[in-house]
């Protein structure tokens, strides 16, 4: 999991891989047709590498549908990722102003923090004194 831009880039790469996978599946598992009554399908010996590993028609169809659905899903994922990209409604100038404001606020908050710590230290020593003095009645 990276930031959203990286996720988006990965998603696009995956889409491209799915393209290849789809074509590869169709290329590898389609069935063979004879175009002419005189054609005949050459039968390769069993142990030789088969050019086409035909799947039964219904399996092939189902796989095609699944691959197509996966493509659509991935594309929708991509669109979703695009729509949640950070800061789509901020311009660069907005961002700069925002950062400056935050910087000032941070400085102020830091000063307050230090002050609070100092006050706490004071009150602690105060308390310490009181306790010490009450111990010896």
């Amino acid at each position: 999991m990276g930031d959203r831009l990286t996720q988006l880039q990965d998603a696009v790469d995956e889409l491209a891989q799915q393209f290849v996978a789809c074509i590869h599946y169709v290329h590898r598992h389609h069935n063979l047709e004879t175009l002419d009554p005189n054609d005949e399908i050459r039968v390769l010996p069993k142990d030789a590498e088969q050019e086409v590993d035909s799947h039964p028609a219904e399996v092939f169809k189902a796989a095609q549908i699944e691959l197509a659905q996966d493509l659509i899903t991935k594309e929708q994922q991509i669109e979703y990722l695009i729509s949640i990209l950070p800061g789509l409604d901020n311009s660069e100038r907005d961002q700069e102003r925002n950062i400056k404001e935050l910087e000032d606020e941070l400085k102020m908050a830091e000063a307050q923090h230090q002050q609070a710590i100092q006050e706490k230290k004071d009150i602690m020593s105060n308390l310490d004194e009181v306790i010490r003095s009450t111990r010896r009645p």
Binding site: A16, I23, E75, L85, A116, P137
Partner: protein
């Protein structure tokens, strides 16, 4: 990728270089003594040179000149002037502009001007970019559909369509990479906001515990008077009432310490 020449080259490289380069010879100067002497010298110089620099934070750490040779290497060298340097033989630059899409050669840009954000358009919102990206995503699907159709008709004509898809993909990646600085700034804003919230929460917690202790102290003040009265009463009565009073104090003290060790969130 499996290039027979490549492995040969790697072997050759191995022979002329060790795993790690040897440290530069001046590393021996970095002794505690030398560092202390350098710090002393720096202090002396700072005291002798009267006019302080007008904006100390903006100037680089002062570099002393005319040091003895064994201290000269203890100071970092000045930053590279022209923003380029070499490490282990590889050139680096401070400014790394994103290569233009057109420079890659035959990639056709989908969006004119390589997207957005020319200098005059800094105020542009990025709605456009999202729309363009979505459009490219849809085009990818459509082009793939066309590609499959063409492959079914005549596979020889598919090369152009493949090129179209490739260009779309390159364009997509390019647009995303152009968006990266924007996302980086956005992350910075988010981090700063989180830091601010945390700091404020911490301050509030400290203030809270401080007020608690203050209240306790006030309570203790009123109780102390009671205690003194009790002790006075006990002493006048001649009976030792101290144990009862002592226990009261002990309980109170325990309570106090309990509040103190309570972590300030």
């Amino acid at each position: 990728m499996a290039n027979p020449n490549e492995s040969q080259e790697i072997q050759d490289l191995d022979q002329i270089t060790s795993t790690w380069p040897r440290p530069p010879p001046f590393y021996k100067y970095f002794t505690a003594d030398n560092l202390a002497r350098l710090a002393d010298l720096k202090r002396e110089r700072a005291e002798t040179s009267n006019p302080p620099p007008p904006h100390p934070p903006t100037t680089m750490p002062t570099t002393l000149t005319g040091l003895p040779p064994n201290l000269r290497n203890l100071q970092p060298p000045p930053p590279p002037d022209e923003g380029a340097w070499r490490i282990f033989g590889d050139p680096y630059r401070l400014v790394q502009p994103l290569p233009k899409l057109e420079e890659g050669g035959e990639i056709r840009p989908v969006v004119a001007n390589g997207g957005l954000l020319a200098d005059g358009e800094r105020d542009d919102k990025h709605f456009d970019r999202a729309t363009v990206l979505k459009r490219i995503a849809k085009s990818l699907l459509l082009n793939f559909l066309e590609l499959v159709g063409i492959l079914g008709q005549n596979a020889m004509d598919a090369a152009d369509k493949v090129k179209d898809i490739r260009d779309l993909l390159y364009n997509f990646h390019h647009l995303i990479n152009e968006y990266r600085p924007h996302q980086a700034r956005e992350s910075l804003i988010a981090t700063m906001q989180a830091q601010l919230d945390r700091l404020r929460a911490e301050t509030a917690a400290i203030r809270d515990s401080k007020e608690k202790v203050e209240r306790m102290l006030e309570g203790l003040g009123s109780l102390k008077i009671d205690q003194e009265e009790a002790v006075a009463a006990a002493s006048t009565a001649g009976t030792n009432n101290k144990s009862g009073g002592g226990r009261g104090m002990g309980e109170l003290e325990e309570e106090m310490w309990g509040m103190l060790v309570e972590p300030a969130v």
